[in-house]
């Protein structure tokens, strides 16, 4: 039969608010996690990454949280700006194996 694409989850936030994008990963043995941002018509860009020996890592306006107990990853964006509008992907990896990507979440900013 015909396959149907999944609807992309969407998160809408007010400009200036904080955004939290969530991701559930599948492999409890994964030891590397990464977030990408993809703007319309462009390739994914690296935002931040974290290894499994850490629970939290901060960058400029972004924080990644890792909860290995429930296999959950989140990306927090502080003071969301219009330029943050994009699709955000999480990915997991183990050792030198290739990354496994999530479906992505579309972040839209309301003025």
């Amino acid at each position: 039969g015909e396959s149907v694409g999944l609807h992309l989850p969407t998160l809408s936030v007010q400009e200036g608010d904080n955004s939290i994008i969530n991701c559930a990963y599948s492999n409890s043995a994964s030891d590397y996690f990464i977030w990408y941002k993809q703007e319309s018509g462009k390739g994914p860009q690296f935002i931040i990454d974290i290894r499994s020996n850490m629970d939290k890592r901060q960058g400029q306006r972004v924080t990644v949280l890792l909860n290995k107990t429930v296999k959950h990853l989140s990306l927090q964006i502080a003071a969301t700006q219009p330029g943050d509008s994009a699709v955000y992907f999480c990915a997991e990896g183990k050792g030198a194996q290739k990354l496994v990507f999530g479906q992505g979440t579309r972040l839209t900013i309301n003025p």
Binding site: L6, G43, K98, Q103
Partner: protein, 110 residues
Amino acid sequence: DVKVTQSSRYLVKRTGEKVFLECVQDMDHENMFWYRQDPGLGLRLIYFSYDVKMKEKGDIPEGYSVSREKKERFSLILESASTNQTSMYLCASSLEDREYFGPGTRLTVT
């Protein structure tokens, strides 16, 4: 800064044509990848390579082949393009974990 470039941003080809998509990276990365991206389906891995002249099938290799004659270059080949290969094609390279992506090639097959 790592730079991954793709030969074309937009490409229109006819059904049955042989199509070459080229990818070049400038950071001496061992690993290179080809993905296609379709609305609602995320990134799907077509082929990857961990070394020159080495290739491995990804999740959706049917209808595609690849070539890696030099470390910096990884080519994706559509032997006989079909309309269901209309998509955004993304190339990436990595040394260890982090993959660096090119800008993508939007291919339309008519």
